[in-house]
């Protein structure tokens, strides 16, 4: 299935957001997620199904002003 992850188009196997995080190697990293511009809570990722053309954001803590 083709989706966008952090603005880049990718071919992925994962069917849910939780599996996508695993597939992309985030492991136990602290991340925040959004699907199609809506926030998805960590506890809801396993139940969040991915569909062709979805836009996923995976963010981590960073320096900020």
């Amino acid at each position: 299935m083709q989706i966008s992850v952090n603005g880049l188009t990718r071919e992925v196997e994962a069917q849910t957001l939780a599996l996508l995080i695993e597939e992309l190697g985030y492991g136990t990293q602290t991340v925040a997620t959004a699907l199609n511009h809506e926030f998805v809570r960590s506890k809801d990722r396993s139940d969040t199904k991915l569909r062709e053309g979805d836009a996923v954001e995976i963010l981590t803590p960073r320096q900020g002003g």
């Binding site: 985030y26 990293q29 602290t30 926030f39 995976i58 981590t60 803590p61 960073r62 900020g64």
Partner: protein
């Protein structure tokens, strides 16, 4: 800052009136030393895209947690209320705080806030129990709308982000202070030198938030300390009530009784 002059921001009582950003420092070690030298208790942070396995974000977050300071996540880079709301929700989960420095940028060259989107996002986030710190202009009407939306702190700019120009509109900042005497006001953005921070504190502002002026200084650690001292000096000066300026000279040494005085 003395323990007798605390700063209350929502649920927090702070002794330092300087808030620091964490971006653009030469190294993580210098960032950590600058935060320590400043004595600040609140630092701003953000969320950004990261590839799986990079772990840069994790290492930064560990450094900040080890410093024991409170974090104020921002929504920097957001162009709409919708983006800012989603970013704030993500930040709350990752950083474990309902504090949010709300930025909705409306113009590229000046990074001026889109005050319409700002008010919209502030209302939505306040309704979700966020403690909103809005990055705004010195516009009185917008300030009123932000307070109506649930904000209990306002953060007007002194000048465009990263410009280091100091106060662009002293009249506007003074008017804002006069109109909202009970609201914590933090000048956010545009300060470049310690004297700028002292000047905003002398206007009666409650605190100063800055980043670039320290991070891009030749010696960020010393500059962090310099800003801490200037914020404290400006605050103490404000509380001590400065004299009223005059248009003409007035001798400070008594005039009567000087040598060769022929008027006696």
């Amino acid at each position: 800052m003395s323990a007798g002059d605390p700063l209350t921001l929502y649920d927090a009582v702070l002794s330092s009136r300087l808030l620091l950003g964490t971006a653009r420092y030469p190294s993580p070690a210098i960032l950590a030393e600058a935060i320590k030298a400043s004595g600040c208790e609140v630092v701003t942070v953000s969320l950004r895209r990261e590839a799986g396995g990079s772990r840069a974000g994790e290492s930064f977050w560990r450094l900040i947690r080890d410093l024991g300071v409170r974090v104020l996540p921002n929504t920097a880079g957001c162009r709409t209320a919708k983006e800012a709301i989603a970013t704030a929700q993500m930040a709350r989960e990752v950083f474990g705080t309902n504090w949010i420095k709300l930025e909705v940028i409306g113009e590229e060259d000046t990074l001026q806030p889109d005050v319409f989107g700002l008010v919209e996002a502030a209302r939505a986030l306040s309704d979700e129990d966020f403690r909103v710190f809005p990055y705004t202009t010195d516009d009185l009407v917008v300030a009123e709308r932000l307070l109506d939306a649930g904000c209990r702190v306002l953060m007007p700019w002194a000048a465009p982000i990263g410009s280091g120009r100091g106060i662009n509109n002293a009249f506007g900042l003074r008017a804002l202070r006069a109109h909202f005497p009970g609201v914590p006001l933090i000048v956010d953005a545009g300060l470049g030198a310690p004297s700028h921070a002292a000047a905003v504190m002398e206007l009666g502002y409650d605190a100063a938030l800055l980043n670039t002026a320290v991070a891009l200084a030749g010696d960020p650690v010393s500059m962090a300390r310099a800003f801490a001292l200037s914020v404290e000096a400006g605050r103490k000066g404000y509380l001590a009530r400065p004299m009223t300026p005059r248009d003409f000279a007035e001798p400070s040494t008594p005039v009567i009784g000087h040598a060769f005085d022929e008027s006696a």
